[in-house]
Subunit: 310 residues, 4 copies
Amino acid sequence: MQLGLIGLGKMGGNMAERLRRAGHEVVGYDHDADKRDVDSLPALVEALAAPRVVWVMVPAGDPTRATVEELAGLLSPGDVIVEGGNSKYTDDQVHDVLCREKGIGYIDAGVSGGVWGLENGYALMVGGTKDDVAKVQPIFDALRPPAPVDESGQELPGAGFVHAGPVGAGHFSKMVHNGIEYAMMQAYGEGYELLAAVDLIEDVPGVVASWTQGTVIRSWLLDLLVRALQEDPGLEKISGYAEDSGEGRWTVEQAIENAVPMPTIAASLFARFVSRQEDSPTMKAVAALRKQFGGHAVQVVRAREAERPA
Amino acid sequence: MQLGLIGLGKMGGNMAERLRRAGHEVVGYDHDADKRDVDSLPALVEALAAPRVVWVMVPAGDPTRATVEELAGLLSPGDVIVEGGNSKYTDDQVHDVLCREKGIGYIDAGVSGGVWGLENGYALMVGGTKDDVAKVQPIFDALRPPAPVDESGQELPGAGFVHAGPVGAGHFSKMVHNGIEYAMMQAYGEGYELLAAVDLIEDVPGVVASWTQGTVIRSWLLDLLVRALQEDPGLEKISGYAEDSGEGRWTVEQAIENAVPMPTIAASLFARFVSRQEDSPTMKAVAALRKQFGGHAVQVVRAREAERPA
Amino acid sequence: MQLGLIGLGKMGGNMAERLRRAGHEVVGYDHDADKRDVDSLPALVEALAAPRVVWVMVPAGDPTRATVEELAGLLSPGDVIVEGGNSKYTDDQVHDVLCREKGIGYIDAGVSGGVWGLENGYALMVGGTKDDVAKVQPIFDALRPPAPVDESGQELPGAGFVHAGPVGAGHFSKMVHNGIEYAMMQAYGEGYELLAAVDLIEDVPGVVASWTQGTVIRSWLLDLLVRALQEDPGLEKISGYAEDSGEGRWTVEQAIENAVPMPTIAASLFARFVSRQEDSPTMKAVAALRKQFGGHAVQVVRAREAERPA
Amino acid sequence: MQLGLIGLGKMGGNMAERLRRAGHEVVGYDHDADKRDVDSLPALVEALAAPRVVWVMVPAGDPTRATVEELAGLLSPGDVIVEGGNSKYTDDQVHDVLCREKGIGYIDAGVSGGVWGLENGYALMVGGTKDDVAKVQPIFDALRPPAPVDESGQELPGAGFVHAGPVGAGHFSKMVHNGIEYAMMQAYGEGYELLAAVDLIEDVPGVVASWTQGTVIRSWLLDLLVRALQEDPGLEKISGYAEDSGEGRWTVEQAIENAVPMPTIAASLFARFVSRQEDSPTMKAVAALRKQFGGHAVQVVRAREAERPA
């Protein structure tokens, strides 16, 4: 089928390529004139036969908002917009109202897969109405990883794609995915640090590598850690500075809003905050308190207490 | 080669089977007369040609200690004991001294794989001297998962087996593995709970299943969670009560001893402690404090402060 | 001076009493006809001579919003509204815009002190312009605890009152105060639980009481815990169920927004969430995973992995 | 009464002074010849009339062990040793066995109070038999803070002294005290950091100072923080580097051993560990994982998965 695709960067460009390999026609637009098939959003809309599906793959926040708003002014009732970036799910709900007013469908799609998605497929978590999702299903099917089969050759549905609920459910699911990712990375990191802290373990990269087959903690992230340690056994070439993206923060915020205890994901988020501080104001305060213990600075403060009204 | 194997339970029995399939001769001993090949440890030792290798696969703590002590009295210089249970690594160091005095080699082996090990192989993390490990290597090679190959057909070593260091290093590595396991399980649990807490997500098992292909957080544990949710979509048949084994506790203790920050693994351990409490003394104290806010109970206490010496 | 006071509940009623004892004239309004001096907000405004100061002491959220809006329609330029409830600081910023448009001043005041405030005074953290704060200063001075004096008889300013910054700064400061309160309560609770968990400590209430003089951790909250343990030495009459108010959640949300690591305050918030759950979905997931370990359920899932595209 | 006191440093010296002011006779020994009254432990024992009480106030660990062992060889049945240093409670239990064999009593005393103890008294948490504690009670009464009185002039017992249980209970109580201290310091630190992180708060030291009267979180530690901020409002002269002593670690270890959840105290301990790291191996691993996301390094690893045995 035909698809309009806005944003042909690393992700969007590879997605276009995967879709074309699967026989779909992609009309792409990008700020970069060298990458694009059409020169403007109006031209993109014109190039597509109704009912149209347009996939937005631009940075979250203002760029996405602006693109959705412009598209909503150009598209026709029955068309569908798919927001595949990293929007906060509440933004999707705003976009949806905007589109519904004009009869345009709106789907939010959380997309995972990075640079390997081109070959392996992209995991997709989508939110929207059944009708809208049905209109885009051929595209989803081409992007997602192939359905695995069990020993008897039967397809096992469900891996790599879910219609999670109404608009917002896609990005909410992806957000939670990223929160879990933070805690898993932190957990491997903590284990690595303990191994590296003791003389007893003479082959730290070897221990981590040994975990990749036959253990409870084997995972794709662990495979990545093995690779990183193969390249740099003591991680000497990298500093312990870790950015965080919106999704991790939003996950903990949502946990708080819904009274969900979330100790490990929150701890991993805080560890990233700490990693970016030159010095910690909290620990300055702790150190200052410890310093106060040693002097007689507090005598006056005690005197004040004695004057408190009964 | 020949191997003496003590403990033919779920783990030991399957290991014996895997070894026999690989062409090794296993002489097994167990408390259960129906399972064993010989009727006593002396008989087991007699049945093996020197230099002997005897693998101990009995419960950690006293049973393992007693078995190692008895074996040390029966074996000859040049023989090797492999402790494959869940011993604390410091126990191994005690066992090692005991064995070395008699010229007997000692290896500690952390074994992972559970019921799937028979078919898929067991991940092995071992500690000991090079010479001792070399003597047992054919056994390790039969137990471990087959070495994977890359696209060009070359074997990729390291997955599923490591000689981590001297005696203790094997169980230390396995201990850290289990600590990481705790935090990963907790992370998935927290993500699951948030999904389940919001009306927005209409297909929670579907979202979890979607993560198993093409995402950053795909893992064997995630596959297990999908399976659990297929069997019981709301986890209504299971209560949120989680035991912990020694390894999780030891991991955090070692972190403390080595000044390694370990927030996510510790948090997941504490979450298990909480899960087993009928009521929380900590939260009773918090509730009691909140209740005190509401009354004037504290007037007398304040009066006492006013009497403090300046 | 004259003060209009809206809301004559436990807090507002005591504040009115303390102000009157200090010689101020308080005109009070409340939904409860038995408590109030005037029968409506218009009557309250009419009873005050311009420039007026009206203190709002009603529940946070809609009641406060509605009251501020109605007042803004009744007051005159130069008058000042003080919001002394538990508003979120961002609500204050909205109220402020509303008031400024009409030339009315707005101050947010975080108030601490509970039932002891009548006798001991209320700690006040206020936000607003210098001019507005100056207009209300006599009221603040009557409400706050008396300034303590040091050994030489000099007043030590600063305890019990602060002009923290522009509108919002008062409730922000009070919010952080409450976040710290959560972690302190949790810390005492954890210590209490450990004491109570071991047979070695034969007099748990006695140990806690001993800490109230001469130690590093003596505090007003500790005095409260002593009192609670005197009344109920094993805390047997209270269940470990702890509510949380908005301030604790907002504190952690603000930490996240500002990339401030906040492990202890977040942990204490999560502990309250857990305390209110009949069963924990997170721990159900953990327990379900542990159960999966024991079976061969995962064989098919493994088969699926083998089919992944290279 | 008579007391032998070993160790006349900052703590021991002040304790001797406080005891002498209260009319007790103190015979002191110290490595420093300028401070001591007698030149050796045998001389100290000889200078005391039986039944003797000897208070040991030397560094924990080997020095304390050596001192107790030497004393046990010099003292007579019916004498009592008080260990007032920072011993681990399990060390006390070893010392106790050693002393009981010779008919000598043993008491462990956790002492809090630092440099203010001379004037204000020392909080004491002691463990031992009733008889032994009774023998030393006059000394405890002189060292502890004066019993506060309530409004009617009645003494309120319990503040500043407790006989917590048998040998070990004193240092265990002091250990828990220190654990709580860690979390309280961290909580204030986190609150301080959030205040300092936002432009909204224009007077951070003022906010902290305002909390010292009339609030829920007022405490001696808070008074210290006010003082620290008065001296250095932005804490610019101090680095966020915080040591930890044995007690904090032991508290968390004991929590783990007794299955007591201890999230805030553990978090505060971990924060100190982090504060002393030049770079964090955990966060290096996290950063390395994030870096791996961006490349195609993992292709080979994926290929290996496809080769896994079904």
